[in-house]
Structures are given as C-alpha cells and as structure tokens.
Symmetry: D2
Subunit: 426 residues, 4 copies
C-alpha cells in the first residue's frame, strides 16, 4: 500500500531531494486513499487530529519554514491557513485551538488538495533551483520537513484507527490477511555494562533531541528477548491486575479509579473472549502477538506483577547496538503487531510491531541546547512529564526509525501502538 524508500540522507543532490520529496508527499496521500470524505474531518479526542488537518499541517510546515523565508516570490495560498494549520509554534503566532480541529468543515478536502499542490509546485521549484542543494540551512529544513511529514504519516494511521475504532460501527480501514506465528516462552538476554555512548552521531539525519552523543555508565542487565504478548497480558488481567493497587503507580491507580482506562485501548470482552479493533476491523486478540495500546501505567504495573521492571532508554539502546533496523514496520503492510513467525535466538522485535515504553523520563541529553526561533519548539519544549519509547511500530515508516530515535508520550497515553518489553538487574 505504501511506497518504500531509502532513508533520506543529509548529503543529497537536487535530483535526490526532488525524488525524496515526491515520494514522501505521495505516501501521505496514499495513506488516505481508503477514506471517505466524511472520515477526513473527525477529531475523536484532543490528541487526535482530523486526517485533512494532518495533510494541511505538513504542507503548512513547508510553507512556513521554507517557502516564506526562502521561496522566490512565494504567494501564500490562503491568509487564514497560517493560523488554522499551525500546530503549536507559539513564535509563528496565535493558532486555532488544538481541541477544535474537528469543528472545521472548511476548508474542504478538495481545497486542502489544492493547498498541497500549490505547496508542492513551489517546493519543487525551490529544489530545482539548486538552492536546497547549495544552502545548508535550506537543505536541513527540507530534510526536517520530510521527516516531519513521516511522523505525521504514522499519526495519520494512528488517528484513523481511533476515528474508525471509536465509531460504534467499527468499520475497517482496509482488509489484510495476517501470517500466523507463535510466541516462544519469555527469556532474558544478558547485556554487559561499562562506559557506553548514548545518542546520535554527528553525521546523518537525527532530531535535535537525539544529540549530543554522550558518555554514560551502564551496569550490566538482562533484557527480555521479545515484547510482552497479548496472552501474557491477559494472564495479568485475569490475575486481577486492574484491581490490585499495590501494583500501580499512584497516578495510574487514580486514573483507573476515575474510569480513565480499564485495559488496552480497543479491547472488548465478548462472552469471555477478548476482541480488539484493528485497522482490519474487529478481530479476536491473538495471544502470540505483542500487546499494544497500553499506557506507561499498564506497562509498569505489568512489570511489578511479573517481578521485573521496564528497561531504561540507555539499556534499550545499548541492547540494540548491533541489530539491523528491520521488523514489522509500515512497509510490511500489516499495520498491526504480529506474532513471531520464526523461532528467534537473541533479541527479536526490537524494531517495529510496537513502540516500547522505557522507564526513562523524556529530558534533554547533557549538552542539549534548544535551537533559537520557532523551529526550536519542535522537540525541546515537550521535555517535561513524558516518557521515552523506542523502536518504532507497525505503522512507522521503515526509513524513518533508527536506534537513537526518541518517541515520547504522556504516561496515560494509549492511542499509539505502544507496548513494552521487560528488563531486570543481574
């Protein structure tokens, strides 16, 4: 369904930039192809954005950070869009409230398509002029814009799942046959410690929050060979996991008592059998596939119940040191976590399937300095109250993820494809 592509490297010529730009932009549109017009405008909760808003916002990003400062004689598409499609960049100006994105019947999908075409024409002109290749600032912003759009491609699928999955009719996004598989008994892999490096190298594309690369002292530890499966999570539920306060962080237990969650998102128990909504519609929960749509509180409570703990970000990154970046990512086309199809030796499913919660709060690396200007708001201002997740999921673009990538979510968030693997001290 979605086009595959090579990772976008910083050193690229105009022709490669043109090709990458077109590939990324086209992919966003392909993701929306199965939708009806009605699906493009709905916002089922403040965290979710309507698909058409995503399509417009990523274009706004190119317009705001490339075309307006660097475009030649660029003509703004619509004077109101600077406000409507700004997500959170305070330095760009006042913006439409996040929670009200679903109230905008206008602009229509057709108008947003026209907006995209307008931006594309100007962007390709900028690329073709050779200035993006020649001017580091332009090229870096262009690469950031492409990776930004890839992040929103993941959000598009995440949010489409919520929009369709919250609908009482539970319509499928698209049908898909899944391969069968089986989870082996859980084992732990020993990882040696010592002085390690954390974070992204100087060269190659990375977001600012992955840098600077720095030294850390790591104790030896053991990490689970694979993520916790649905079947294991059902054991936790059936052992009264959601009724035992001693297993939970205080904020998590308060949220349970307030009725804010009561199991993985999308799960329903029908006559004793667990079902869940997937992008392929309602399906029985496969006990062998990794559990998804659990929040940090659930991951942590499961670990307490199992007598283990979550890994730190540094442990995850250390363990992944020599692993290839491959797995059940968006390019596999399944769009849901899969049961293991082979008997793995060593670590498996580190990339793809589910984002893995770590016990590391999302904060700045030593030496991190937020960039000036509105683009500096991209990552740094969210370094409070969130946790780091690693490894990408079944809806992450394969050329977007890397070992040092830091996803971050609030501990109560469930709507992304979030799971976890356990760790323990030696």
């Amino acid at each position: 369904m979605v086009a595959s592509m090579e990772p976008i490297a910083p050193q690229t010529d105009s022709q490669e930039l043109r090709s990458a730009y077109q590939r990324v932009r086209k992919t966003s549109e392909l993701i929306c192809e199965p939708l009806f017009i009605e699906d493009y405008g709905v916002q089922t909760m403040p965290d979710v954005s309507p698909p058409k808003w995503h399509l417009a916002h990523v274009s706004w990003f190119f317009e705001t950070f490339l075309l307006k400062p660097y475009g030649e004689d660029y003509r703004e598409f619509h004077p109101e869009y600077v406000r409507l499609f700004n997500s959170y960049y305070e330095q760009v100006g006042v913006y439409h409230p996040r929670s009200q994105r679903g109230l905008l019947s206008r602009p229509t999908v057709e108008e947003i398509d026209a907006y995209r075409a307008h931006v594309d024409a100007a962007m390709l002109q900028l690329i073709d002029s050779g200035r993006a290749e020649a001017d580091t600032r332009i090229r870096e912003r262009l690469l950031t814009g492409l990776h930004h759009e890839q992040q929103h491609q993941e959000l598009l699928l995440t949010d489409i799942k919520h929009i369709l999955g919250m609908n009482p009719l539970r319509p499928a996004y698209r049908e898909c046959d899944l391969p069968e598989g089986m989870a082996q008994p859980l084992t732990f892999i020993r990882v040696t410690g010592g002085l390690k490096k954390l974070g992204a190298e100087e060269h190659g594309f990375a977001f600012d929050n992955e840098r600077p690369r720095h030294d850390i002292w790591q104790s030896p530890f053991r990490i689970a060979a694979r993520p916790i499966s649905n079947g294991e999570y059902i054991d936790f539920i059936e052992d009264g996991g959601y009724q035992r306060p001693e297993l939970w962080l205080a904020d998590g237990w308060a949220a349970i008592k307030a009725g804010q969650f009561h199991g993985p998102l999308y799960w329903e128990n029908r006559d004793g059998q667990w079902w869940h909504y997937t992008l392929g519609g309602m399906q029985p929960v496969d006990p062998h596939a990794p559990v998804a749509h659990v929040n940090y509180f659930e991951a942590d409570a499961y670990a307490s119940w199992a007598g283990k703990r979550l890994p730190t970000e540094a442990e995850w990154e250390t363990a992944a040191e020599n692993l290839p970046v491959e797995g059940n990512l968006r390019s596999s086309g399944y769009l849901q976590p899969l049961a293991p199809d082979t008997i793995a030796t060593g670590l498996s499913k580190m990339y793809g399937d589910v984002w893995e919660w770590t016990q590391s709060a999302y904060g700045p690396y030593p030496g991190y300095r937020q960039a000036g200007g509105a683009l500096g708001e991209y990552n740094g201002k969210f370094m409070c109250g969130q946790y780091v997740l690693k490894g990408g999921s079944c809806v992450t673009p394969a050329d977007h993820i890397r070992r040092t990538y830091r996803n971050f979510l609030y501990p109560a968030d469930q709507w992304q494809f979030s799971g976890f693997r356990l760790a323990e001290d030696l």
Copy 2:
C-alpha cells in the same frame, strides 16, 4: 429555495398524506443542497447536531414510531441505527451520547441517503395501503412525524448557521439580496384584560404541550408594536449594559463573569462597527432589523435597562388573537430577520423574523397529562428550567407555526433566532 406547502390538517386522505409526506421529506434534502459533504458531520457544540444526523434522525422517527409497529413486514435498515439516531427517547433504549454525534464519520451521507430512501419507500407503501387514512393512531403519528421533521428543518438551518459561523473562514450558506427597510420609533399597543382562553382548540394539529385550552385571568397591559431592533440593542451595549450587574438576573451575571457570552451570538465589533455572521456570510448589522441570537438573560436585562419587562406567554397569545399567521418565515427565503418594509399600524412582526422570549417558564398547562409510551417523552419531560418563546422565526416553516405554538429554550441559549419585544403594565 424551500418548497411552500399548506398546513397539514389532521383530516386528510391518503393522497394528501402522500403528497404532504413527499413535500416535507423533499424539503429537508433541499435545505442541505448547498452543503459540502464535509459540512454534514460537524457538531460545533452539544446543542448542535450534524446535518446528516438530523436527516437520519427524522427517518428514525418514522421507522421507530410507524414502520416498526405498523409496517407490513418492515425490515429494519441497519441494526445499529436504533441506537445511533435516537435523540432522547429513554423508553426506546440506550442511545449514542448527544455530545458525540459529531464523532461519527460513518454512516456516510450516501448511506444516510439510502436510509432515507428505504424509509420513504416503506412509508409510502404504508400510506398507499390506506391504513394511515383509516387508522387514527397511524394518521396522528404520521402527522406528528411530519411536524417533527419540520422542527428539524428549522434546526438544520439553525445548526448549519452555527457550523459555518463558528468556522474562522466564515463561509456563506448561500447568497441572498435583502430588501431595505426602516424601524419606526417604538410604540406600545394597549390590550384589554379579563377572562381569556389560553392554548390550542381541540380540533386541528397541535403538540400536546399546547393543550388543554383553559381559562386564565388577564390584567390589561401594553405590548410593543415591534421587536427590539439591532440599533436599539446597540444603544444598550454602548450604555454599558454588559458592565452593569444591577440590570441582570443573578445567573446571567454569573455567566457573563465566567465569559460564557458577551453580546449577541455571531456579532463582532470591527473598528467600532458591528458586523455579524448571517447565512449569507459576514454583513454589517442592520440597525433597523430585529435583534436576534440574544438569550433570555440579555432580553431581560435590556427590558430592565429600558424600564419595561418581557410579556408573558398569555399576554403574547392574547395580543396575537386576531392576527394572521404571516411574516418573514422560511418561505420568504431571506433566512434572516428583516427591517420593516412598511409603516405598520398596530402590532407587526409577531410571526417570523425572531422567536420572542416571554417571561413565562415552560410548564404544563392545567390539566396536562403526558401521554404514555416513548412518544410521551416528546415534550413533557422538558418542562423544567426553560422559557417559552413565541411566533416563529425567519427559518420556521410557514405551515408549521401557529399562535398557540410553544417553543422552549434554556435561558442561556443563543444559537436559535431568538429576539424579544417589550411589554409594560398599565
């Protein structure tokens, strides 16, 4: 734009019923014709329903109260719709939460069109069978269903105005040239008192809340010849009306301090000039047209400021005793209150233009008994906390309104075309 029709009388034969049914159903669809697909699904606040929800709900009404009990071999269109499109009938069963109607991207507009066609075919079959003509219960429910759909036609226009008017792009529903006019200085008409009758006669269609007709004792009074105009309301604003607590009911003043309203809905002051959103887009406020989209608190505060009061429902109905039911109703096609186009002698604009707030709390008439069964929930259960409005507005179907008609709204409501006229004691 919208078809005109004769009032639907209770005594009608099958042919007339067929014709009335088709006319009413067609009109709902014509009202939605200027919309884009995107406009059909939005809910800008809990009081507003998405247009496609209105279109489905009125069909649900026929399906639930006529086709299911009386249709021959009627086949339900979709098993989930009984829940999705039930507005508030507790005795029909659990229903989709009102505030979440805007989260339903599915069913699509096309599916709802098919639902309407399915219901129409079965309804016409029922009518053509002669049973609606022959069976009083069926005929009465059919008439109720038609009047019910007419109420939702008014709501469609009211809610479309909100959906488009809350959009920062302020798109017009459709363009329309308005006739010019001029409001004469405000005068008051004396009405004599004595023993009067209030409420609807036994014969003819009326809702249950308009009955039984009963005696009341009316003191003589004076009532304003026309509603308060925009220009007069601007005088109130400019005299500090919204900063003077002594003019306001306590609940109204608390709402102002909480920022819940600060002037008529849709009004904007641009550089000292008042503009407002209309179904024809943003326009300068015409000082000669009746003020609309004010709530009860505003109507009452204006009356205090003017040293007058609002009329009671009985006074309004007494004053309207011999007036023809005509005015700037939906059939005029303007879809907004108009400045007077003639120099009237006596009462003018009692029907049409704006619903007029009365000081009468909405309650049961002496001898009122709520009907049993789910249809009994139509009106009676709302007799608490609301006020009666009279006379219909510029979006009310001409064959739907009558002197005894009782509209009712909460005192903070602004989104309907609500205005007011003053009264005073002798």
Copy 3:
C-alpha cells in the same frame, strides 16, 4: 431551645423594636451554642455557608444598610469585612467568592462575636434615638434586617445539619426525644375555583416578591390532606423509581445518570433498613413522618409514579386560605419532620415539617418592580430557574412564615427540609 416571639409588625415603637432586635439577635447565637469552635468554619458545599459566616453576614447587613447610611458617627468595625461578608450584593462592591467561605480561618469566632457586639451597640443606639420609629425608611430596613436574620437562622440549622451530616462520624447537633405518631391513608381535599387573589396584602410585613396582590383564575382541584410520608416514598424507591426514566424530567434523569443524587439526602440503607442523619444523629427512617430532603425532580417523579401532580403555588395558597399558621416549626424544638400525632380531618401539616415543592417556577407577580439600589437585589435577581416552595419547615421561625411566603430553590437542591404534597385535577 430557641426563643419564641410574636410576629414583627411594621408599626412598632422604639421599645418594641429594641425588644425584637435583641430577641432575633440572641436567637442566632443560641442556635450556635451546641457547636464546637471547629464547626463554625466549615463549608461542605458551595450552597452551605460556615456558621460563623452567617453570624457575620447578618451583622454586615445591618452595618451596610442601616449603620453606614443612617448611623450617627458610625465607625466601621473592620475595613475588609465589607468584602468578606457581602453575600451577593453587586452594587455594594466586589465580594469574597461564595465557594471559598470555608477557607477563612480568620476572623475567628471570637472576633466575629466582637463584630456582632459592635453592630448591636450601634443598632441599639440608632433604635433608642427614636429615628427608627420616626423614619419609615429606617424602620422598614430594620424590619427587613430582622427577617433577613431569621432566614439565616433557618439556613444556620440547615447548614449545620449538612456540616455534621457529611462528616463520617455523623455527630449529633443535640439529642431530642420525638413524639410517636401515625400517618393516615392519603386522602384528597376538594377546593373550589374561581377568581382568586394571590399574594400579600398592602399592610403588614412581606418581602417584595410576595406583591402585588393580584387576581388569578383558579380551576377547581383536589389537594392531598398531608405531605407524602417516608413510607410512601420508600414504596416508590422499592418499585424501581430511580431506574425508570419515564417517570423523570429530562434534567433530573441526566443528573441521576451523572450520579448527582440517588435518593433523599442523608439516607443510608443498612442491611435493608433505611436510616437517615438527623440533627439528633443517625436514626431509623420513620415511615409515618413526611419525607424530607428530596429535590424537585424527585417530587415530580413521585407524582408521576402516583398518577398525580404537584400543586401550583396558587393552588397551595388557595387551599391554605383559612388555615392558622401553626405546625411543627422551629419553636416546637424537634428540628425534624414528625409523624402526625392526631387524626386530622381536612388539610394538615401545611405549615412546618417540610417546605413543599410546587410546580410553579419562581417569577415576578404581575406588576412587580424590583426596587432600586443594592437592596433591590434581595429577591428579584433570582427569578430564573428556580421553583417556589411553601409553608415553612421544622427549622423555620414561627413568626417568620406566612401564607404568601415564597421560598425558592433550584430543582436539584436537596439540602433544605424540602418535601411535597400531591394534587390532582377534578
């Protein structure tokens, strides 16, 4: 426990005024005598005020409306009190938020006692000067101030019940032996209709909302001989009253579903037996005593269940036309509704025991004009969204209640001693 007194008449000489003033002021203090210092400061919900706030506010009323305008060389007790103890008089100035009255540990009870003594000395000086007797404005304000303090005496007992009754320890306010009694089977009394007068005569003390006296047309009706008893209300509960939406007003059913009430306030079911908190502590519910602490929704739902309705205010006042103002009022000392101690013929318990909900929304009588100035805010600005209750309760001062007295509460309110009697059409 509480001193008895003759009704305070408008035509009184200085000596009588002095005596009435001292009696009323002393009574407020006697009511608080059983309290601990800790009880004086608590506010268990926004509707409740701490006892010490009541004691200060009634003094503030005399200070603000009598001593400051009319006192000779009156010296304000404390410059901050004008703000702290203003309840809701916008024209007096900004006031301490109602919901934060319970956060004020200072002034202490002792300081408020000193404030009362300071105001008393100045008030007695004003009375003794003969100016209150001579000057109608002063005398009327003084009488209003005394009736105002009596209203707060009722609120003191109501609020003390809430403060102690919400405490998990359920401490008694004071012990009291109750007489036994028995409710006779419910009968209805026929009342003839015709042209009637409603409201208070010109002479004698009455609040502004009881006037002007005016004509109404009353149809004949029947009214229950006594209020509904606890035993009858238990039948309603046990018949599933709180699970049957068809019995409830829409707003009431929504409040039940939101968990806002689930039975009379203070009731607890312990092993199948109903208990309730009273000012004498936890007691088994007496099936023969009138039900209390029900809101309008509950009264209305019970009436629907019983196939009856609530009376209107005019019906209640018509029925009470020739009844003496006597009953289980505060002066009886029981401070809770009692089972009937005699076999009554005709109407019983119209005064005392419980305030009786009517189906009449609280609004202005024809010809009512709110007085100018801050004192005009006393009653008029609350004429929205509330219902009238009649007859006084077991905590109402005997010399404070009268046939035309209009108490008013929001339909969800339960914390006052509110019950109801039924009515029906002929």
Copy 4:
C-alpha cells in the same frame, strides 16, 4: 521556637529512642502553638492538609505500622480513624478523599490531642519494653515514623503558610526580626567529572528511594555559587518573562495561558513595588534573598532566559560532596529564605533557604525495588511525573536533611519553599 536535635541514627538504645520520640512529637505540637483553633481545620487546596489532620495522621502512622502489629494488647483509639487519617496507603484500606480533609470539623483539636496522647503512651510502653531496641523491624519502623513526622513538620509550616497567606486578612503566623544581608554577583563554580557514586550508603538512616548507591558517569560542569535571588527574578519578570512563550516548556506555557500561575506564589505588586506574604506577614520582597515559591516551569524558563540550565540531581549531589549540612534550616527560626550574611567563597546556601529544583525526573535508582506491604507505598508509587529537589529549606528540620535526600514535586507546584540555582556545561 522549635527544639533542635541530633540526627536520629539507626543504632540507638531504648533510652535514646524514647528521647528522640518525645522530642519529635513535642516539636509538632510546638509548631502549632501559635494557631487559633479555627486554623487547625482549613484546607485551602487539595495539596494542603489541615494542621489537625497532620497531627492525627502522623499518630495514625505509629498506630498502623507499629502499635497494631507490634503493640501488646494495643486498643485502637477510634474505629473510624483508620480511614480518616490514612493519607494514601491503599493496602491499609479505603481512605477519606484527600480533597475533603478540610470538611471535617470533627474530631476536634482536643480529641486529636487525646489521640496523640493515647498513641504516645502506647509507643513509650513499646519502647520501654526494650522490643524496639531488640527487634530490627520495630526499630526501623520507629525511625521511619520519626522521619515521617519530621516531613509533616515541614508540611505543617508549608501548609500553615498557605492557609494564612490565602486569607484576605493575611495574618502573620508569628513575628520575627530578620538579619540583613546582600547577594554577591552570580558566579559559577567548576566541578570535575568522571565516575561518581550517587545515592545513600548502606549504613545510616535513609529513605528507600535514596538507594542503592550506584555508579554514574558525570561530565564536568559548572554550578552557580548561590541560588537565584528575588532581585534577579524580578529582572526576569520585568523583561517580559511571563509573556514570552519561547522561554517556557509547553505544559508551563499552557498553564500560564489558563491562568494557573503568573509569578511566584504569595507575590503581590503594590504600586510597582513587590510584596510577598511570609510567615511573618506581608513584607517587601528582599532582592537579596533567594527566590522561593517558584515552580519547575518558572525555574526552567528563568534558566532559558539566562542562557543557562538547571543542574541534574547527580550534579547537585556531586557538587555538594564535601559540604557540611548546615544553613538556614528550621532551627534558625527565621522560617524564610535569607539574604547572604557573609561574602562566601565557593558554594553557598546548598542546604536550607529553598529546596532547589533539579532537571532530574524523580525515578528509581538502578537496582531499586519497592518493599512489599503497605509501607512500600511510602515513596515508590510516586515515581512518575515529578522532579527531584535537593538541599532542604528554611522550614526543614536540621536533623532531617542530608545530601542524598530526594524531595519530589510536580512541575506546577509552588506552595513549598522551592527555588533553584543554575548550572551550565563547560
């Protein structure tokens, strides 16, 4: 005002335990001596507890964790107290809601004094029996109980400040003359890095969250010689700090826009001059004293404005390595941060004056395992969403604080004596 004491060491004999117990218990009572009875019951926000609740809760701690399991024939003081004075120990059972502690007029202060005396008698009996000296479990719980009561002594002063400081009368807790001082220009001290140890040694008393002591890799850094002063913070305010979103974390800026804070708690600008409420009443803000009552968002925004950052917990602890634990703690008796009284060379004010925000999220140290049972809930379940603060404040008991001590607060909290010092990379 408050007694001084030696740090309570784990290895103590019965006589020392008795003495320590009596000293700690007595101190809590001395802290409350200046209060009126009215002050003991108020809860000005959910984070604040009424003083009498603190006094009871610390007794409940001894009763629940020592007397009930280990006391000989211990008789519970009151069966309801297990619920009323349980703060958050889920495994002990259901507890009174935190936000409703201020609604409890009963038990009275006198009853709580009796509860304390009852617990004290039983505790001294347990100590005198020699079992606390002999049984490690008992001795450790006893020490924990004493340190727990010391934590609540700090909270008592913090909460008393809020109770009196939110009161419009702004009463002083007690008067106190302050020494004068002067802040030197801000300098930074270089600290060398390398492999360091973080956390508490095995021996000596420490809370579980301070262990295990473990290795970390620390880069060299520079840390400010003293905390930021009021004068420096005023510069930030006057430079538009609260109007510049680029300086703020996203959650902090959202909180400012929602009106949740707008400057240090207790600050008021009177005619251009800054005043603040202190335990000695309203005072002009001393520009030389450390700023207090700022939240994490404010500390972080100031650091952004200054081009610096906050230190990590490891940096703070590394920098404090050889410093004596002394400073303006509770024992100095001033109960507010002081301007420096000497010209310091090197780090000053690391202990006392203000708790210092670090940029370290509060989480478990490597190898941390939460203890089983209810006491395990003491610290571990709060390891989510909070930040670590170091060094103690002007209301911290001198024998309670240590270098490895980890205080933790939510980033929006202002009501504790929280300030900060800056750091920077080399």
